[in-house]
Symmetry: C2
Subunit: 228 residues, 2 copies
């Protein structure tokens, strides 16, 4: 990652949005901005936590590895999102990695300063607690799905999740470019299985595929694959 001279606008990240205005001048000198290219690791699972990152521009996958070859993508982060916060808790080790999936700019805040920000800004701490509660809720829902929902349903779920997070462009495609392998890692299946299911969905005219882009064609039908 390369450090950039230009800093962030002090307006987009979770920290700047939720702390008291009076705290912003303290944030300014304590943040630094980096650029990561596509595929570059921003922080690495099992490394010591040095601080917290905020996505300023671009898209990041948050993932956990299994062996050399396999991984599970837990979520995607875009502009304004916090990443690396799973390193809070007791052990100061990142339990996940963060990797840019397109050219990305991130803001970095050292751990000590981040913790000070939490001490000073009660509302920010409350918001962070609620944010963790939401992420836990989502994680546990995904876990239940992983245990009981077939791959076809998990892919439907993933498409809805991505749509909610990234929205769609004018032509109806999801506003994110995802490799098949990343989609597979996101739903917890292999590339081949995802490939097959995507073909099924396309044949059933449920979705439309164009390279790395995905569009929902028949929302109601896609929803039916979520149920039990």
């Amino acid at each position: 990652m390369k450090k950039t001279k230009a800093g962030c606008d002090l307006k987009t990240c979770l920290l700047c949005r939720l702390c008291q205005k009076e705290w912003i001048p303290a944030v300014a000198p304590n943040r630094s901005t980096f650029k990561a290219e596509k595929g570059e690791r921003i922080f690495r699972e099992d490394d010591e936590v040095k601080g917290i990152f905020f996505v300023y521009d671009g898209t990041v996958k948050v993932h956990k590895h299994w062996g050399e070859e396999k991984e599970l993508i837990l979520r995607f982060a875009k502009k304004g999102d916090i990443i690396g916060h799973r390193g809070l808790g007791k052990e100061l080790v990142y339990p996940v990695s963060g990797t840019a999936i397109e050219p990305t700019t991130v803001c970095f805040v050292e751990l000590a300063f981040f913790q000070a920000s939490l001490k000073v800004n009660h509302d920010f701490l409350y918001a962070l607690m609620q944010f963790f509660a939401s992420e836990l809720k989502e994680s546990e829902r995904n876990m239940r799905n992983l245990a009981h929902m077939p791959v076809k349903g998990r892919i439907a779920q993933a498409i809805f999740t991505l749509e909610e997070k990234f929205g769609t462009t004018a032509d109806g495609y999801l506003n994110i470019h995802l490799s098949r392998q990343d989609l597979a890692s996101f739903v917890g299946a292999t590339y081949e299985t995802v490939f097959r299911v995507l073909n099924e969905y396309t044949g059933e005219e449920v979705i439309r595929v164009d390279g790395k882009r995905l569009a929902i064609r028949n929302r109601a039908l896609l929803k039916t694959f979520l149920g039990y």
Copy 2:
């Protein structure tokens, strides 16, 4: 659940342990104590959040259902543990159920008072945030395991998790009585598969089984099933 006249000792739960001493007199009139028998639901997934519970005595499983028949157990809670807190966040709906797996006593605190406690006790809020971070970390690790680790490994993992949480009795057995079905729901597999794996482990002299009790016989060997 039956309300009991005798209240808690105001010392065991997360709230009483972490809030300021000065706040305890406020807690006293705002908590009520209930008894749940084995198998009784304490709070139900999809119900509106009325408040937060603390396990005062007994054991509770926290689980998410899938259809009529299936469920996934996310964690177990014992004396002192908080349950129902996943209902915080935005939507005030429990995303999970809590069910007593042995006769259990719980302390109940209404949501409004719980939120007031968080406003007043900064350290408690900080601890709760950290607790959420830990639970999220564990949830995501379990999710990765569900996606990539075979059942045999997940059972090994479950045994270690249960040992850490409940400890062992003098004769080496885990200090929790768990039905095969609950163990299966905890590792995200079927009863039959768990039954088979448990037989394998017993044959390999890795564990010892006695009714609903489990003991580790060969810790080193059991550990080898965790790896990739």
